[in-house]
Symmetry: C2
Subunit: 219 residues, 2 copies
């Protein structure tokens, strides 16, 4: 495994950055690990470990400098150049995703959407041009798309993923309720809402779960 920073840490870094950005906007300059832990629902130790992973140090008396920290996370997480995203599937969910992500990250934008429904092709939805799925490779070659989002029904998902791989896409965010089988040079992250809801329903019946806001360290 070439990269030494854990997958979970990568996810949390994204979260921390968002929370820190909100704090910075409120004028907060410094923050301690236990403070960010509270708002991120983590523990202070975990926060410090995550900073360690990206090699950022704070001061024992002042804590961490918020602006610098945001910057350090950006240097670690973000691509130096813009990364372009393609959405496949312009149904209800696809459109909601399109709107949700619009303008959320400056260097990570959905630049094109694809569907197999001819009625959706060649329109512009929420500022995003729509193409037929068969144009994926062409458009991708032209614009340099790195990441794909699958928002098609389960029955279409594998086909969509294969077209993405053929178009040279190296990372897929999969909303379809089925696993994708792709080569292991392509990273897939699944968002399986059905699974998540069933999990919630299950644990809602179980009672108690030791989720720690009261980080052991700070009572």
């Amino acid at each position: 495994m070439p990269n030494t920073v854990s997958q979970k840490t990568i996810g949390r870094l994204s979260l921390y950055r968002r929370l820190l950005q909100a704090l910075a906007n409120k004028g907060v300059k410094y923050i301690y690990s236990h403070q960010i832990a509270v708002i991120a629902s983590a523990t202070a130790a975990q926060v410090r470990r995550d900073w360690m992973a990206i090699g950022y140090s704070g001061s024992p008396t002042k804590g961490y400098e918020v602006a610098e920290l945001i910057d350090a996370i950006g240097k670690f997480l973000d691509s130096p150049k813009e990364q372009k995203v393609a959405l496949v599937g312009i149904g209800n969910l696809g459109r909601a995703i399109l709107i949700f992500f619009a303008g959320r990250r400056p260097k990570l934008n959905i630049v094109a959407a694809f569907d197999n429904d001819p009625y959706k092709v060649n329109r512009v939805i929420h500022g995003c041009k729509c193409y037929h799925i068969d144009q994926l490779k062409t458009v991708s070659d032209e614009t340099g798309i790195d990441v794909g989002i699958v928002a098609v029904p389960a029955s279409e998902a594998q086909k969509a993923a294969e077209k993405m791989v053929a178009a040279g896409i190296k990372g897929i965010l999969n909303f379809a309720p089925t696993p994708l089988r792709v080569g292991n040079n392509v990273y897939v992250e699944d968002i399986d809402m059905t699974m998540s809801l069933e999990k919630v329903a299950f644990f809602a019946r179980q009672g108690n779960f030791e989720r720690n806001f009261t980080s052991g360290e700070y009572e």
Copy 2:
């Protein structure tokens, strides 16, 4: 921790069931652990371990009986009575969620939607009655809601969660891009699309990740 079955296993059981149901519909009667492993992107050993967790046994020669297995998962995962779900936030994402879940699980349905926008209240959207958020406790007491879905902007999410907890909801599926702080008798599952997309974008740049379709056991 009262329950002995791992959180990850619970999630996979939900997935297995869906995949098995699809197989059953195609007329498949028996299946081996390595077969389900392939379609679930897992390993055969993991599948057997997951079955073990719910105490279901197969035959060394015939494998697992699909219909029985679906049944066994249901007995373990599902509530004996219907579990009702409330959706809070009827924006783009909320509506997409409503449509997505409609009829997906027989005993797990979104029975009411809530928003603070007076224009959305008292309408019926996709077969689901809409109420003002302040009616959450009343409606919940009347109908017996167990699970909540948060689909509001980050700025509103904590408030929405607190109202859910006050209404006696014990499990929350959170789509808002911010952690929720609730007591530890309430289970929260986060679906953080921004985090997931950033993770994909990050790993898309990294190359190779040892994802195993080639389960070690079956070359």
